[in-house]
């Protein structure tokens, strides 16, 4: 897959492996942490891993659309953060904490 040792050129493979590792760290952090703010940051990590994948494919395939799609991902991330942080503020006003496990009113 990749030759070990110091490479002369960085191919798309390196970027894709880095993005896979970053995505995994974000996913594990999302499952492990219980502070909702930190969970949101982990979602940002996962979105950035997806962006890195798009941009590295744009270079590997010599195709501009990979970079265009990053902008749409950015818009979705911005909208998600705006609405999500508003929800967190609303939860905090009502319950005085933002631990995810405490918001279990709908649990069966």
């Amino acid at each position: 897959m990749i030759a070990l040792g110091y490479p002369s050129t960085i191919t798309a493979t390196y970027y894709l492996i880095l993005a896979a590792i970053l995505f995994t760290i974000g996913g594990v952090g999302l499952l492990v942490r219980r502070n909702t703010l930190v969970m949101f940051m982990c979602i940002e990590l996962m979105l950035n891993a997806a962006n890195l994948t798009f941009v590295s494919y744009a270079k590997a395939l010599n195709d501009i659309s990979g970079q265009v799609i990053v902008f749409f991902t950015l818009v979705v991330a911005a909208a998600e953060v705006a609405v999500g942080l508003a929800i967190i503020v609303a939860i905090f006003r009502r319950r005085q904490n933002i631990v995810a496990d405490d918001a279990d009113l709908l649990k069966g």
Binding site: M1, Y6, P7, T9, I10, A12, Y15, L16, I17, L18, A20, I21, L22, F23, T24, I25, V28, G29, L31, V32, R33, R34, N35, L37, V38, M41, C42, E44, L45, N51, L52, V55, S56, Y57, K59, A60, L61, N62, D63, I64, S65, Q67, V68, V70, F71, F72, L74, V75, A78, A79, V81, A82, V83, L85, A86, V89, A90, R93, V99, D101
Partner: protein
């Protein structure tokens, strides 16, 4: 040189990512997130994506991180996150699950080529005498114009939703009965 830049930035990206997950204090998590985002912007520059790198700095590393820090200071989040798990197996299960995801991604790619498919179906990345910004704009306003309009709708919905959520929760002002119909 290219390899050196890549490995330094990759190390910074992973350091920041681990810092986000492992920091006890949410403020430290936000600052580690800033480190990761800035390093990814450098990687974007390395990948001939100048405009995307600039937008990454302006939107992500400035606006979103500042928004996180603002909410942290607004809420005055206490620093200690209780470590006793309601489900003790959850943390181990999460780590095992993450390792499985990573191994399966890498194994799936190991037997195959990482990059397949047709090249330059939506326009080339490198064209002589046109910059990255011009190539992006041409593609965004021709091939992706419908999606571009939809992002405007999405942003409006998000702004309205954010205002409504932040405003109407918690202590609502004393309103005479029947005054809060609608919305």
């Amino acid at each position: 040189m290219e390899a050196a830049v890549f490995f330094v930035c990759a190390a910074l990206v992973l350091t920041g990512a681990f810092g986000v997950v492992l920091s006890r204090n949410p403020v430290h998590s936000a600052l580690f997130l800033l480190l990761t985002l800035a390093s990814i912007a450098v990687l974007f520059l390395e990948l001939n994506a100048g405009l995307v790198a600039a937008v990454q700095i302006v939107v992500y590393a400035s606006a979103i991180v500042v928004l996180f820090l603002f909410v942290i200071t607004l809420l005055g989040v206490d620093q200690h996150e209780s470590l006793d798990e309601p489900q003790p197996f959850q943390r181990i299960a999460a780590i095992v699950f993450g390792a499985l995801v990573l191994i399966s991604i890498l194994a799936l790619a190991h037997g195959n080529r990482w990059v397949t498919g047709a090249h330059s179906t939506r326009g080339q990345l490198d064209v002589a005498r046109t910059g990255n910004v011009q190539r992006l704009a041409e593609s965004l306003f021709t091939n992706f114009v419908w999606a571009f309009e939809m992002t405007a709708v999405l942003l409006v919905i998000a702004v309205v939703g954010g205002v409504v959520l932040a405003r109407r929760s918690g202590h609502r002002p004393q309103v005479p009965a029947g005054g809060e119909a609608g919305a």
